[in-house]
């Protein structure tokens, strides 16, 4: 997968590139709108991540010009502007998603993957397996080492979200948004306590604990 990153701030570009590389993506970066437009029209990319405030040609103009040339490349806008109007403007210009600075890289990555799945029409699998834990989303069944585990509805959704993002860190905010439909993170550690319950339920002595905490960032489900 090749990502085109149009971002004028070197440090932001640096950490985004590093993050994508760690996730196995190749990143080309343009530091201004004109270069970015040139690269987008002359090279095939799978996805573009574009900042709005850019020197020489602003992000929205770049997107409009790309769309005029009938380039259907999926685009995520990154902007420091938070207001709803700016979001709507961004999405109207022809972008596919919008993320506000400062953002957690894990969220950008998750959105990138979701967008790529959507664009490439990859269906979400109906069953998933990590190590000895398997989930059947259709029949709402969770089995670990051959033993069925009873989960409440929210616990099931939480585990499903972690399973579908297996190997990737998901932040507390992302969990609140996707599992509880809250767009904020309460001060009390609600997610932490839910994760604890979930860990207890899928706990198996002498086996991997599967759900790991990444300090400050969030949680990841993987076999270690």
């Amino acid at each position: 997968m090749r990502v085109l990153l149009i971002e004028d701030d070197d440090r932001t570009a640096g950490f985004v590139t590093k993050g994508y590389n760690q996730a196995g993506y190749a990143v080309d970066r343009a530091a201004n709108g004109v270069d970015g437009l040139f690269m987008a029209t002359h090279t095939r990319y799978d996805i573009a991540v574009i900042d709005i405030m850019l020197p020489r040609l602003d992000g929205l103009a770049v997107i409009e010009k790309l769309r005029e040339q009938n380039l259907s490349l999926p685009i995520i806008i990154v902007s420091a502007k938070k207001s709803i109007d700016d979001r709507i403007l961004g999405l109207h210009s022809g972008s596919d998603d919008y993320i506000v600075k400062p953002f957690a890289f894990s969220e950008l990555l998750a959105r990138t993957q979701a967008l790529l799945r959507r664009v490439n029409q990859i269906a979400e699998p109906m069953t998933l397996q990590v190590d000895d834990l398997s989930m059947d989303f259709g029949r709402r069944k969770v089995v670990r080492a051959g033993k069925e585990i009873n989960l409440q509805q929210r616990e099931f959704s939480l585990l499903e979200y972690l399973m579908r993002n297996q190997g990737r860190v998901v932040s507390k905010t992302m969990i609140m948004e996707h599992v509880w439909d809250y767009n904020f993170d309460p001060e009390s550690n609600v997610v932490e306590s839910r994760i604890c319950r979930l860990r207890e339920k899928i706990y198996l002595p002498q086996a991997s604990k599967l759900i790991h905490t990444v300090r400050g960032v969030g949680y990841v489900l993987e076999k270690r």
Binding site: P102, W180, P186, G216
Partner: protein, 459 residues
Amino acid sequence: MFQTLAARLTLLYALLFCLLALIVFTVVSKSLEVRLLSMVDLELREEAEEFASVLNVGGLSVLQEQVRLESESEDVEEIFIRIFDAEQKNIASTNLQAWPVLPVGREPADQVSDGWFETLSAPVYPNAVRIYTQPLGNDYAFQMGKLMAEKEMLMAYFRRVFAVTFIAVLLLGVTIGFYVARGALAGVQKVREAADRISCGDMTGEVTFQDRADEINSLIHSVNHMQQKIKSLIQELQNVTNNIAHDLRSPITRMRGLAETSLTGEQALEDYRELAGAVVEECDSLVGMINAMLEIAETDAGLREAPKMAVDLANIVDDVGGLFSTVAEDKGVDLQVTITSAPLLVQGDRSRLQRVVANLLDNAIKYTPEGGKVAIHAGAETEYILITIADTGIGIPPEEHRTIFNRFYRLDQSRSTPGCGLGLSLIQAVVKAHGGMVWVESEVGQGSVFTIKLPRKQT
């Protein structure tokens, strides 16, 4: 000069006065004219009746003699008398030398017993002439004319007096009116000076001027009130700025300290991880704080128009209760959720109302010690929906029941508990934006009850 309110008012009143004076003048002069004319007519008619009785008593010869006598006694240049016979012939008259233009004969031709008046204006006469013709029996007719010098003189005199009075009153009225208007607006001048002073940033003192007019006094009152409001806003802004500086400085200091100690000397890899994790957490809380501040500011300023959708508060309370159940359990706090009726519909923004309920419950659990109780209750009145969140926590001293809703305000005891002190002011901003109220009843050591009252969606 003519842009001033006093001048405009004066001009307006002067115009109005002129218009009224014109109407008065027209009415008075018309009625005066009619009255004077009727006096002339009365005189002529009396004269005619005298001649009629002369004819009746003495016959034609005495009548002619009478006319001759009149010719001698009266001023023939002002009055003329003619007697006609049945053939319209002038059989007797006063000296007609001064009367070159006269109506011919005795018009109208048809025999009428009543007399008639006519007014004759000719360039040769200095005034209009009033003429009265009266048939005397069937054979004769009497005609008398009179210059209306007196009447016209009176009218001219009236016009002159009126004009002089008019001009005098107008001049006097305009001058006095102008000064009175300016005097009445002196209060406005004072208020303007105060406004200039305030806009220059001088908030000391207030307008103490007392005017006779209530309008000006209420304006002065409003300006003073505005100044006080501005003053308290500036004060609040200063407090907020100080608090922001403090609340931003602490996490930055912590991050800087951590990074600095990590850089001095070799650390284990795990320590670096720890540092990075701590930095991410501090940053997230800083961003959360900035976002909350922006959101409060936007909500207060009305910039974020709440989407007007039907939101079910029963559902929100139920959800939030479920969300916090494990946290409460972990802390050993008994959480009770009661919803007396469902749905509880209000009009507004779901995600922000969710946040209000979650923040309040979050606080209640946070400040309630182990073994305590937190109860959230949602119910409806006819026009309002009430949500109460009661805890058995540390409580809030009465003097702080209002200030806790201020931005960055935190009770001394809670400084050590994580949080930024923005939660309650965000709650208040959102509830107000939804047309509702939020308040607290509390007793130190016993616990607190927060109540949210929101207008129910009318179906």
